[in-house]
């Protein structure tokens, strides 16, 4: 029996306020939906795993904007070492796709060059109010080399598939190695100090 491998990746959410960024994540992480959500407060650090084959599990460490996108005040710490990004727009709001394009530009400026970016059109449950066609978004995504999905956080349609597709694209081996290297180099501040050390070295 081979041992299961866990590879962890930081995924950041981007997109205009109220396109349903947190709802998409809520569907993915908790498989639930609430119609009336306050703007994101409190939870901005969620994790969820996806098994991509019999031996490999990808763990997403999902960063929500915590509202800092509202006045374009996201810190560079947000983009730092992100390996995947979900750029969400609302298929019933044409302007939200333009905002998505802005965030993609920001990602290209600020994030690692090998980041995997997925353009995600949310609210497919509202087909009758659609303002952005699949063709338009798809051809834009293709031109920019992005993954492209349409989902509904409300019904759950396409959400799991979207994260799974991102997971299989991620560089597993490289990530495992990098994490090992980093563990050896950095210190864990949550580890309590070893109070005996002082005496031991005498």
């Amino acid at each position: 029996m081979t041992e299961r491998r866990f590879a962890q990746f930081k995924l950041v959410l981007l997109g205009e306020s109220a396109v349903g960024k947190s709802s998409v994540v809520q569907r993915f992480v908790k498989d639930s939906f609430s119609d009336f959500r306050e703007s994101t407060i409190g939870a901005a650090f969620l994790t969820q795993t996806v098994d991509i084959d019999d031996t490999t599990t990808v763990k997403f460490e999902i960063w929500d904007t915590a509202g800092q996108e509202r006045y374009r005040s996201l810190a560079s710490i947000y983009y730092r070492n992100a390996q995947a990004a979900l750029v969400v727009y609302d298929i019933t709001q044409k302007a939200s796709l333009d905002k998505a394009k802005y965030w993609i530009k920001e990602l290209q400026k600020q994030a690692n060059s090998d980041i995997i970016i997925a353009l995600v059109g949310n609210k497919t449950d509202l087909q009758d109010q659609r303002e952005v066609s699949i063709e338009e978004a798809q051809s834009f995504a293709q031109g920019m080399g992005l993954l492209y999905f349409e989902v509904s956080a409300k019904t759950g349609q396409g959400v799991k598939e979207c994260f799974k597709q991102i997971a299989v694209k991620l560089p597993i081996e490289e990530s495992l190695k990098r994490r090992r290297d980093r563990k050896n180099r950095t210190v864990d501040l949550n580890r309590r100090p070893n109070t005996n050390e002082q005496q031991c070295s005498c």
Partner: protein, 448 residues
């Protein structure tokens, strides 16, 4: 934009961002504004384009040291004490989730024209080239006294009263030579002048303990430093604040400050409209008329090198202290060395930031001994900063202003300022509680 808040914070320096985070956790509705388009204010880390435009406006960065985005140079050079209060706040607020830290490889002190490692344990003290045989025994006895000292056990006091006797008297008691006192006082207790000698020994005792417990935490040196530079700290606390509901606006100059008839702060006007709050917390640059210069000026020289510092065993990071006595000064010279090991510059480069309190009219010449220590430089950028403090405590006008970042080598005075402002703003002292887990926070946000 919503109009009413509990607190408006101006400036995103570390002090302001920690307070913003702590107050948001307390449930206060915080609006946090910075006129600049980046986080960190005076305590930011800048890329080379930003750095050259600030310190050498006539000579923009031309790409001679590689990609701009590989560089993050601290405006205020400091390290975290591994066992210091900032570490404590980071752990309790779980801002450690957003950042990674690495040890600083070495702590060095300048003596008789060369540098040597600061002995941190009794073993190291005994093998240090800084002292002769008998002096080592005396030093060892002194350190043993410090380590053994227990408040409730009078037998460990050796008839010394830390609150009455001066540090000078204790040095004399242990028969320590001047050079040894220099590195205890300056390299371990981290005093930057000799004023402490005639003050009660308690403060110096506390500082030595902080040094020793910090070294004990991870070994090598008492310092840690965040990957990607100190500018990550304000950003991490800003994120904490945002997660607890804080609203952030960068690139937003204050068009007008609003006051009531009693001269009390009531709000600000910006391009986003009017925002009101009964309390304002700000860095000194937002209220020049409400702060006063302390008279101290700090010179900082940011040096780009393509080699490690000689005689540090090729350390990828180090703190080097040049005690004032060693070079005929009143104030110590500090050198903070960091490199690509902490992801703050392109591979193969080192950044040494030299700083001291100015004593003459030719401050750049005062740094000469430090330039000798660090060796050849590829470029040097210099700046002089005035140190400000607020004139009033904020009780009258409801404007609570932080102090400028002082020239000390660590953040202990910064966290003291945070705690004092917190207490003045809230009326009670800061009690750190462990932050909720990610799951509890998810529930809080209705993600259940």
């Amino acid at each position: 934009m919503e109009e009413n808040y509990d607190v408006i914070v101006l400036g995103t320096g570390l002090t302001e961002c920690i307070l913003s985070g702590l107050l948001s956790i307390d449930g206060k509705k915080v609006l946090h504004i910075d006129r600049q388009e980046y986080y960190g204010g005076e305590s930011a880390s800048l890329n080379l384009t930003q750095l050259y435009s600030k310190f050498k406006p006539s000579k923009p960065y031309q790409g001679q040291f590689g990609k701009d985005r590989d560089w993050l140079i601290d405006l205020i050079p400091k390290f975290l004490m591994s066992n210091g209060e900032l570490t404590n706040i980071l752990v309790h607020t779980d801002v450690t989730r957003y950042m990674e830290f690495k040890q600083v490889s070495g702590s060095f002190v300048y003596r008789d024209g060369r540098i040597a490692k600061v002995p941190a344990t009794t073993v190291e003290a005994i093998s240090s080239p800084l002292m002769g045989f008998f002096e080592k025994r005396r030093m060892s006895n002194f350190l043993q006294f410090i380590v053994d000292y227990t408040e409730d056990d009078i037998s460990t006091h050796h008839s010394i009263d830390l609150d009455k006797q001066t540090m000078h008297e204790i040095y004399t008691h242990y028969g320590l030579q001047k050079g040894t006192c220099d590195f205890i006082g300056h390299a371990m207790a981290l005093h930057h002048n000799d004023d402490y000698l005639i003050k009660p020994a308690r403060d110096t005792y506390d500082r030595i303990i902080l040094y020793l417990t910090s070294v004990a935490r991870y070994g090598k040196s008492p310092y840690i430093y965040p990957l990607y530079g100190l500018g990550e700290l304000p950003q991490g606390f800003a994120r904490l604040s945002a997660i607890y509901g804080g609203t952030f606006m960068l690139d937003t100059p204050i068009d007008e400050l609003l006051w009531n008839g009693q001269g009390q702060f009531v709000g600000v006007k910006t391009k986003e409209g009017v925002a009101k709050a009964p309390i304002c917390i700000a860095d000194p640059t937002y209220f020049p008329e409400k702060v006063t210069a302390t008279g101290q000026k700090v010179i900082r020289a940011m040096c780009i090198l393509d080699h490690p510092i000689p005689n540090t065993g090729d350390a990828d990071s180090a703190q080097i202290i040049i005690p004032q006595n060693q070079v005929g000064r009143k104030n110590d010279i500090y050198i903070a060395v960091i490199s690509s090991a902490h992801n703050i510059c392109a591979k193969g480069y080192y950044v040494a930031i030299i700083s001291t309190i100015i004593e003459t009219t030719k401050p750049h010449l005062e740094l000469e001994p430090a330039f000798k220590v660090i060796g050849p430089t590829k470029d040097v950028l210099m700046g002089i900063a005035e140190i400000y403090r607020p004139i009033e405590d904020g009780s009258k006008d409801h404007v609570y202003i932080s102090k400028s970042y002082d020239p000390s080598s660590h953040f202990e005075s910064t966290t003291d300022d945070v705690k004092e402002i917190y207490e003045r703003v809230t009326g009670h002292s800061l009690v750190l509680k462990q932050r909720k887990t990610a799951e509890e926070e998810a529930d809080l946000a209705g993600l259940d």
